[in-house]
């Protein structure tokens, strides 16, 4: 069995960055508390053999309150099912905030494992005027202490050497800090007045007394009359009014840039797909096989792949904003709003993750210790607009929303609409939370203390890796589930004959159901086909609206096909009202088999998974119908 060493620390201490630097694994490294919700494994090759490294979720203490903290405590004590006993522990602490970080260290020292303390973010500590006598700290803690700058790789060699010492058994088990009375077992806090007899309060006082003793005379901070740059910036960015205004402007710019910057790359993919279709058409003999390859495979998958640049740009922006520390400020702004509806800011983090994909978002709720709050967050997280919805929005907005821009193209109407679609899920989540918290999941919410990480220059490498990782997932889904669904949809629309096919027969059967939404059978069937996975809708629309890749049609072909589509009486099918109806349905509907499965897994109940699917689908249908009917009544966008 390989020796195992766990990495743990408070959230935002650069633990995952350090873990990546050692193992070469590229993981999600966020800049807001609680982003690491799973244990992650990696391997490090040393002269003594391969070592298993375990990246544990960020935690402030070993008192197991939330699911995440329970996992950390169990792994350290060797009680976690499926996890081998550890050979050692690396505790990563923020050098600029030693007092708070040593609380966890004091608990880890009592676990009885060889321990290494990493003083990370030494550069930030230096900038804040903090100097630390590392040798003295090492002596007082009785364990190796390694100063590091994990974001630039400083100190990795020393840490590697220390890890090898752990593997070789050269680092002894540290002495417990001994904060309990050996006879009574009570905490030696020296106080009974202010905190009474409550053991948790007594423990906190005892540990902070110990920390004060450890740090006395070895940590110095130059008193500063000027506030830090970070503090000054926070005054603006977390301001109730200015912070919100800046957040909206940043989002508007981001969504407009997705349109402006991704355009040329989309054209390149468009041309590539068309060229491939024409090339295949030029040598394959006419017949059913050629139609399958051209329309089912190239047409279906190609029409979805065209949206790859927009996905990449969205994730480049999100990763950049997270890594520089801005997203944590956005979470802070939301905490005020969440407190009013009965949730804490802790719920905002899973929701933010859900803008990428609901699956990690639902899993990120494990950081929420209150079961009812956790379930409420799970139920509303899929309302956030994930990246799979992006192609639908961008296609319909490009087709039916005028391309008006201001400020030299920095802000625009299409970008504003895209932002509005992303904001819609969040806006709808607020009344849903309010209702759930007052009915089926009634209960008090524990207070939430949030730590704002320091601003920092984002690591371009990490930002690039995250965008690349998302691009890989998107291409993978295009090559698997979307390809398979495209073939199935093509087959249904090709047999028994192209004019009287099964797809149309089914479509006509469901048309009365979707007509109140302003849809015809082709839109209805495309949306229905997208229930296992949303991205399928573009491929389904390409098939439904007879976009022919061999004739040079591509994503702009779908765009024109939608603009030119008509009802049997010749009236135009699409207008802004129908486009809005389709987009709103997509924004609110739970069209993702994987999300339903993950809700079942995380709640351990089909009841909640079924509830999420049912309420979202009904809500999406009603909202889309109301929007279409109101717009139609006033003659807007028809």
């Amino acid at each position: 069995m390989k020796p195992a060493i766990a990495f743990l620390g408070n959230p935002n201490t650069g633990k995952t960055t350090l873990f990546n630097a050692l193992t070469g694994l590229r993981q999600q490294v966020g800049n807001y508390p609680g982003v690491t919700v799973e244990r992650k494994h990696g391997q490090l090759t040393t002269p003594h053999g391969v070592v298993e490294l375990i990246d544990l979720p960020g935690t402030y203490s070993l008192a197991a309150q939330s699911p995440d903290e329970e996992v950390v405590a169990n792994v350290l004590r060797g009680h976690q099912k499926g996890e081998q006993p550890l050979s050692g522990v690396v505790v990563i602490v923020d050098a600029s905030n030693l007092k708070r970080n040593l609380y966890l260290v004091s608990q880890v020292l009592e676990v009885g494992l060889p321990t290494i303390v990493v003083l990370n973010m030494m550069d930030i500590a230096k900038r804040r005027g903090v100097t630390i006598d590392v040798t003295a700290l090492e002596k007082r803690l009785g364990v190796p202490v390694i100063p590091m700058k994990a974001n630039v790789g400083g100190g990795v060699t020393q840490l590697n050497a220390a890890l090898m010492q752990v593997v070789a058994g050269q680092i002894k088990i540290p002495k417990p800090v001994g904060l309990r009375d050996p006879e009574t077992g009570k905490w030696q806090s020296g106080r009974t007045d202010a905190c009474g007899d409550h053991p948790i309060a007594q423990e906190a006082v005892a540990r902070y007394n110990w920390i004060r003793g450890v740090l006395h005379g070895i940590v110095f901070q130059v008193p500063s009359t000027r506030s830090h740059f970070s503090d000054r910036l926070d005054k603006v960015l977390t301001h109730r009014v200015w912070g919100t205004v800046i957040f909206v402007i940043v989002m508007l710019f981001m969504f407009q840039a997705i349109y402006s910057w991704a355009g040329p790359l989309q054209d390149m993919i468009d041309n590539g797909v068309s060229a491939l279709g024409e090339w295949v058409g030029s040598w394959m003999p006419s017949g059913v096989l050629k139609d399958l390859v051209q329309d089912g495979v190239i047409g279906g998958v190609g029409s979805v792949l065209v949206f790859l640049p927009q996905i990449v740009f969205l994730f480049l922006f999100i990763a950049f904003l997270e890594d520089c520390g801005y997203m944590a400020r956005a979470a802070f702004l939301m905490d005020r709003l969440f407190a009013r509806i009965g949730l804490s800011g802790k719920s905002f983090i899973p929701m933010l993750s859900s803008f990428a994909c609901a699956i990690p978002g639902v899993m990120a709720t494990r950081t929420i210790e209150n079961r009812r709050d956790r379930f409420v967050t799970i139920l509303v997280s899929p309302l956030m607009s994930c990246s799979a919805r992006l192609p639908v929005y961008t296609l319909l907005i490009a087709a039916f929303v005028p391309s008006v821009t201001w400020m030299g193209g920095l802000l625009g109407f299409q970008g504003a609409m895209l932002f509005a679609m992303h904001a819609l899920g969040f806006a709808v989540a607020i009344p849903i939370v309010w209702i759930l918290k007052r009915t089926v999941l009634k209960g008090a919410t524990p207070p939430f203390v949030m730590e704002l990480p320091s601003y920092k220059m984002p690591s371009l490498k990490l930002v690039g890796w995250r965008a690349l990782d998302r691009a890989k997932t998107f291409v993978q889904s295009a090559g698997t589930i979307i390809l398979a669904m495209s073939v199935v949809i093509w087959a249904l629309s090709y047999f028994p004959t192209a004019d009287h096919n099964y797809f149309a027969m089914m479509g006509h059967a469901i048309e009365p159901l979707v007509k109140p939404l302003g849809w015809d059978w082709r839109i209805g069937m495309s949306v229905l086909a997208a229930f296992p996975a949303r991205e399928v809708v573009i491929a389904a629309m390409a098939t439904s609206f007879n976009v022919n890749v061999a004739d040079g049609d591509d994503s702009s072909g779908i765009l024109q096909a939608l603009q030119n589509a008509t009802w049997p009486d010749g009236a135009p099918l699409f207008g802004l009202a129908v486009a809005m109806s389709v987009m709103i349905f997509f924004a609110l509907c739970c069209q993702c088999g994987a999300t339903v499965a993950i809700i079942r897994r995380e709640t351990n109940s089909w009841k909640w998974a079924g509830f999420a699917f049912a309420y979202m689908t009904i809500l999406a249908y009603l909202a889309a119908a109301i929007v279409y009917q109101v717009m139609a009544y006033f003659g807007v966008g028809i």
């Binding site: 059913v288 096989l289 399958l292 073939v487 087959a491 088999g593 499965a597």
Partner: protein
């Protein structure tokens, strides 16, 4: 022509089987209680 229909038939059946397997796999996974997932024992506790 027959050969073309055979190939297309195999591709369509393959696609249907793949989509069914993917959905079945998701369903089975959600039933299994997944060993690395702490949800099951934690939810029963609180």
């Amino acid at each position: 022509m027959t050969a073309q229909f055979v190939i297309v038939g195999v591709v369509i059946v393959g696609a249907v089987v793949y989509v069914s397997c993917r959905l079945w796999k998701e369903w089975r996974h959600s039933q299994s209680g997944c060993s690395h997932c702490p949800a099951n024992h934690l939810n029963s506790k609180k």
